[in-house]
């Protein structure tokens, strides 16, 4: 097996980001097709194709779309381009290289859910991507793909880009909605769910960049052809952002169900010379870490990783070789979640800080072996008790790093230095 370029087929083409370059590669053809279909037909197609959300949770997209109540209320489509999950950088590439692909995917999706207005919520640091998108949107308006009565179909749609300020929590869909509404970026209590009461308390669909772009190819290829890639429960291709200790890190599009071992060794050129694989974080830092043995057995699909008690998440794969100290790495992760918790829910607000402090105590040589248990107990009690999944996302790395690499933690506490690096935290970080 190898890379299968469906979304990324033309990404090498510099012109692809302009409307002419995109049109030259049959761009906006599927929009024309879609506008001649019934909206519900498109939803059924997406359902049958089994497209699952690429933002993290893997929720079936067609099903999400059909949750919208038929109450005549205005509907909103929001594209989640916040891409906050550490180690994820696929949406950025998609927006920078193929803005029209996202725009086309969004107009089709908006038509399917009958939304007149959509926003791309893009993280603040992505100013280049935001720029590219803005230009592309203008081009799309000029060509009549956006605005009133698109291509004479009677369907009108407006699209805008909204820049966040670089908060991870604004990637959580209701946090994003709050931010878009001009409120503090804090998730909202559910129920009600966004499909019923979302942006401005109107029915709202939130989808990831990749999810929305994928819709085009389901329309183009049809259900059967689309399902040729991937597995029964995880159809299609997916972009993986591979980073860390491989020779060729980067974004790779492979069918879901692709063996992780092949991805590391074939696509990414293997590990650096003389290094051994120690661990892999398969879905962004929120996903529980896999040991090397697990990683070599894993296939990149929702089911396999769930069976391994991890998750596909955002598709960010972090390769960790034997020169890395897991105690050090966990500190980076706990720091991140401590910094990013919005602070509403007590277990998350206090727990993320507590976790980080315990790991820091280990780094500083102030911890006792009991602290390892406290660490796990705290993490365990942060799970499933909060408004959004950030609390779980902070707990899961701890609950996988510690049991799977416990000896490294014990060594660190006993000796006051890293087992792998042989030096203390202070020496490691000057």
């Amino acid at each position: 097996m190898a890379e299968v370029k469906i979304l990324t087929e033309h990404y090498h083409d510099d012109n692809y980001r302009t409307v002419d370059g995109y049109l030259a590669k049959n761009g906006y053809e599927m929009l024309k097709k879609a506008l001649k279909m019934q909206p519900t037909e498109i939803i059924t197609l997406v359902k049958d194709a089994g497209l699952r959300g690429r933002g993290g949770a893997g929720f079936p997209t067609g099903m999400k779309w059909s949750f919208l109540p038929n109450n005549g209320e205005e509907r909103y489509l929001l594209c989640n381009a916040d891409e906050g999950e550490p180690c994820t950088f696929k949406d950025r590439m998609m927006m920078e290289r193929a803005p029209h692909q996202l725009i086309e995917g969004m107009i089709i999706s908006a038509f399917a859910v009958q939304s007149k207005k959509s926003y791309i919520y893009i993280r603040g640091e992505y100013f280049y991507a935001a720029d590219v998108l803005r230009k592309a949107i203008k081009e799309a308006y000029d060509k009549g793909f956006l605005g009133k009565n698109i291509l004479g179909s009677g369907f009108s749609h407006d699209l805008d880009v909204y820049c966040g300020a670089g908060a991870y929590i604004c990637g959580e869909e209701t946090g994003m909605i709050s931010s878009l509404e001009g409120l503090k970026g804090q998730p909202k209590l559910k129920p009600p769910f966004p499909a019923v009461k979302g942006y401005l308390a109107k029915p709202t669909v939130v989808n990831n960049v990749e999810t929305l772009a994928s819709v085009i190819y389901i329309l183009r290829d049809g259900v059967q052809e689309y399902r040729k890639n991937g597995t029964e429960k995880s159809p299609g291709t997916k972009l993986f952002s591979v980073s860390g200790d491989v020779m060729k890190p980067g974004n790779y599009e492979v069918p879901l169900g692709y063996p992780l071992k092949d991805l590391i060794e074939k696509e990414c050129g293997g590990l650096k010379p003389g290094r051994k694989l120690k661990a892999v974080i398969p879905g962004g830092t929120s996903a529980p870490v896999l040991t090397a043995e697990e990683a070599y057995k894993a296939t990149m699909d929702y089911e396999c990783l769930a069976n391994m008690k991890s998750m596909l998440g955002s598709g960010a794969i972090t390769i960790i070789d034997d020169t890395r100290c897991m105690v050090d790495l966990l500190g980076v992760i706990t720091h991140f979640y401590h910094h990013e918790s919005c602070g509403q829910c007590t277990p998350c607000r206090e727990g993320t800080g507590w976790l980080n402090k315990i790991v820091r105590s280990i780094h500083a040589g102030n911890a006792t072996v009991n602290d390892i248990d406290t660490l796990c107990k705290v993490a365990d009690n942060m799970k499933g008790r909060t408004i959004c999944a950030l609390s779980d996302a902070a707990a899961l790395p701890v609950l996988s790093f510690v049991p799977k690499f416990r000896s490294e933690f014990e060594y660190y506490i006993r000796e006051g230095k890293s087992q792998v690096r042989g030096i203390s935290y202070a020496q490691m970080h000057h």
Partner: protein, 527 residues
């Protein structure tokens, strides 16, 4: 109606009822901080965990609607463990300096810990430091380290007082309550945030560090501050009153009262500052607020008198007066019982035309701020008008320009600051030949001119009686405690004039009422 089972008890609830409301209906205990019956659901403290049959995940009771046949418990080990941890997360960065915290004794953390916690702390790390003693304005002080970020205060200013003055700034465990650009709060209802704050994060400037709450007792009464008549609890000890807090009444004031109303205890105390002790070298002076003894004043010279003796003299004086020579001044600050006694007594003996209604800024009487505060700063204007009507009296409006007659009985209002023309009244009364003055408060000009018969009056919190509020709601109340032993109400005054014995009709209220745990937050504030 939906049937559900809560901790094994069956209950029927209305559609839309939340699980926490069902718990409350049954009187089942449930831990919670952020939920408040009068505020929107925040769902942030995560303490109200319950186990619902058929759902593997614990749910929060405050944001879960009851469904038909739902079976809920919070007695399972799973829930107990979750609540224990929920409390622990609240406590890890909490200063836990209860001995120097003003909330101790009525603190949600203390209470819930005693009910649901009781474990050894596991937190060994350094606590987060935040701002201490932040001045939030005229009446409220914030200690951010004690704050558990339940957002009740924020929701109060958003949803009830609608000033939107409070917000949560920063995020994660750096979050702190504050006002925009640190502007002082101007909210006229700000102290309600102190009431609903489950911990010692928000404290009242007026009350903080003055008393330990377990040394205070409280009794219900009605706020005399305006014609709304908010239901209140008055906290007192042997020295007098210390604070006033709202008592829940869905027909009048819900859970709230205004800040001004909270000051009404001050003029009812013997001294207006009951600060005992020293500041540096100096002792803080107490200012006398109240008339303490019955007196007869002539030519600026006061003679203390036994109340029975004084009354005998007054009785003789009234008996010797011609009906047309006696006048009566009344206000809407007296109770129905007082007014009815004094007006009918007067009407039966003297000329009804000589009854004056003393009004304070009547042009403002119809003002209303949309929540509770009304322009009529008398708690019983409606009652007064009714009493006058019942006695067939067409009262004249009192004006300082009128000439005072031979003998005037003034039933003075207790809240002097609400009466801009109080001095004018005192001068006017003094310009006549003789004044019988029944009122609780002292005024510097009293007795400067003319002859005065001064009888210490009772204040609302000392009285038994009733007020009729702006919309005809009659509210009775009992005495909270007695501050001035010699004080009498106007109805007692009439009974005494009719020949009763002071010692027989006069009761002193000081029976202590034991307070059971944290009533305010858990029952009245409906935590």
């Amino acid at each position: 109606m939906l049937k559900c089972t809560i901790n094994g008890k069956h209950v029927e609830v209305k559609e839309g009822t939340t699980v926490i409301q069902a718990f409350k209906m049954l009187g089942e205990e449930i831990a919670h901080y952020c939920w408040h019956p009068a505020l929107s659901v925040a769902g942030v403290c995560r303490l109200c965990m319950v186990e619902i049959e058929g759902n593997p995940r614990l749910q929060i009771a405050c944001n879960t609607a009851v469904t038909e046949g739902m079976v809920v418990t919070n007695k399972s080990e799973k829930v107990k463990d979750a609540v224990k941890w929920g409390l622990d997360f609240h406590l890890i960065n909490h200063p836990l300096d209860c001995p120097i915290c003003d909330q101790a004794g009525e603190c949600g953390l203390q209470d819930q810990y005693m009910k649901f916690g009781k474990y050894d702390p596991e937190m060994a790390e350094k606590k987060v430091n935040k701002h201490k003693a932040v001045d939030l304005g005229e009446r409220v002080v914030l200690d951010s380290e004690r704050c558990i970020l339940c957002s009740r205060c924020v929701r109060f200013t958003e949803e009830i007082s609608k000033t939107n003055e409070l917000g949560i700034f920063n995020r994660g465990d750096r979050s702190e309550i504050g006002t925009f650009e640190d502007k002082p709060m101007t909210d006229k209802y700000s102290v309600n945030t102190v009431d609903i704050c489950p911990v010692g994060a928000l404290t009242s400037k007026d009350f903080r560090f003055k008393q330990r709450v377990w040394f205070l007792k409280d009794r219900p009464s009605v706020c005399p501050g305006c014609s709304t008549g908010c239901n209140v609890d008055v906290y007192y000890n042997r020295e007098g009153f210390w604070r006033v807090k709202p008592r829940y009444n869905p027909n009048v004031n819900d859970y709230w009262m205004c800040d001004e109303g909270r000051d009404t205890y001050k003029y009812q105390n013997k001294f207006d500052t009951v600060v005992v002790g020293h500041r540096g070298e100096k002792e803080v002076m107490k200012n006398v607020n109240r008339v303490i003894n019955p007196m007869h004043i002539t030519g600026g010279h006061a003679e203390m008198m036994d109340v029975q003796f004084l009354l005998q003299k007054i009785s003789e004086k009234l008996g010797a007066s011609k009906p047309a020579d006696v006048a009566l001044v009344v206000t809407g600050q007296s109770t129905n019982e007082e007014l009815s006694a004094i007006v009918s007594f007067f009407a039966s003996k003297f000329d009804k035309k000589n009854i004056y209604h003393w009004q304070n800024e009547p042009e403002k009487w119809n003002e209303f701020d949309g929540l509770l505060m009304r322009g009529d700063k008398n708690p019983n204007t409606k009652g007064l008008l009714k009493v006058l009507e019942q006695n067939g009296v067409q009262a004249q409006l009192w004006k300082p320009s009128l000439t005072a007659g031979k003998l005037t009985i003034v039933v003075a209002p207790e809240n002097h600051s609400a009466y801009k023309d109080f001095s004018a009244m005192v001068k006017w009364a003094g310009s006549g030949q003789s004044t019988i003055w029944l009122g609780p408060g002292l005024h510097e000009d009293m007795g400067m001119q003319g002859e005065w018969w001064v009888i210490p009056g009772k204040t609302t919190f000392e009285k038994k009686g009733s007020f009729e509020n702006f919309n005809g709601h009659v509210q009775s109340f009992e005495p909270v405690t007695t501050v001035i032993d010699a004080a009498v109400s106007a109805d007692e005054f009439v009974t005494l004039l009719k020949g009763a014995n002071f010692l027989e009709i006069h009761k002193i209220y000081r029976n202590p009422v034991e307070r059971v745990e944290n009533q305010f937050i858990f029952e009245r504030g409906e935590m």
